[in-house]
């Protein structure tokens, strides 16, 4: 696994704008629900698949439904990691400082998602 800075120039500007708009839209939705129905109901929308929905429809248009299906297949592992993220925050946020709780939760998401992805990919071979 490697990071290449040059790849950031590849997507057109409108793709970045669309991503920002989707992120802002989902966060606003979660915020409005939280204000109207309480933080627990708002929390449901912190794992709303809007970004994936946008990504899938864009990829299906540009690269075909088959590639979109592959991305959704990968997102299963990310979603399982999100359950881990939420559980870690629930267990630690009243005990640890916020920054530590969120950092460990994010690392747990990454470790869980990538480990499950690696295990399933290896089993399929």
């Amino acid at each position: 696994m490697r990071l290449r800075l040059s790849e950031l120039r590849r997507p057109p500007k409108r793709d970045w704008v669309a991503r920002f708009a989707f992120g802002a839209g989902v966060s606003a939705l979660a915020g409005v629900v939280s204000v109207l129905a309480g933080p627990r109901a708002g929390g449901l929308f912190l794992a709303f698949p809007a970004i994936l929905l946008a990504s899938v429809t864009l990829i299906a248009k540009e690269e075909g439904v088959r590639q979109a299906v592959q991305d959704v297949g990968g997102a299963i592992f990310g979603a399982l990691g999100l359950i881990g993220f939420a559980v870690v925050v629930t267990l630690t946020v009243t005990v640890w400082p916020l920054w530590l709780s969120l950092t460990i939760a994010t690392l747990s998401w990454a470790a869980l998602s990538l480990a499950l992805y690696a295990i399933v990919t290896r089993l399929r071979r």
């Binding site: 802002a24 627990r40 109901a41 912190l46 794992a47 709303f48 698949p49 997102a75």
Partner: protein
């Protein structure tokens, strides 16, 4: 600042923070190789991180705990969404398949919220304990001397 103005500011700040965090994770996904990992990052906690940080700053840690409990149910719905979206996309194409899967997310989340409102762990929302009360003043005066 009135309560309603405060709530509008909270939603706007959450929206801006959510957009920035989604961009940050999108940039990470673009830079990452191999590209087949992109799907995993479509389910990153970008919106959650932004929203929880703003929630902690504006309304406090107890609301972060309640939000995380709700998120547990939302994330179970997200997993079911992904599982049903694969066959639905193949059968109905991108738009109809993805929207039908969102409906499934809604049903799972509504059922989960009705059955387990405290989240998967059943942890009750409790107030964060405040600092321990200190004695009003330390009595440093020496004890009275006994005369007998």
């Amino acid at each position: 600042m009135s309560e309603m103005t405060g709530q509008i500011v909270e939603v706007v700040v959450k929206a801006l923070a959510g957009g920035v965090f989604v961009l940050a994770f999108a940039a990470l996904t673009e830079m990452l190789t191999p590209k087949r990992l992109a799907g995993v990052f479509c389910a990153s906690p970008s919106v959650a991180l932004a929203s929880l940080i703003v929630t902690a700053a504006i309304t406090g840690v107890p609301d972060v705990l309640a939000s995380a409990q709700g998120m547990q149910i939302g994330a179970v719905g997200f997993t079911v969404y992904c599982l049903v979206a694969v066959p639905l996309l193949r059968r109905w194409g991108a738009w109809r398949g993805a929207l039908a899967a969102v409906a499934v997310w809604g049903v799972v989340v509504a059922a989960g919220y009705a059955l387990a409102p405290q989240g998967l762990l059943g942890v009750r929302t409790t107030a964060v304990p405040g600092p321990r009360p200190q004695p009003a003043a330390l009595d440093l005066a020496p004890p009275p001397a006994r005369l007998s």
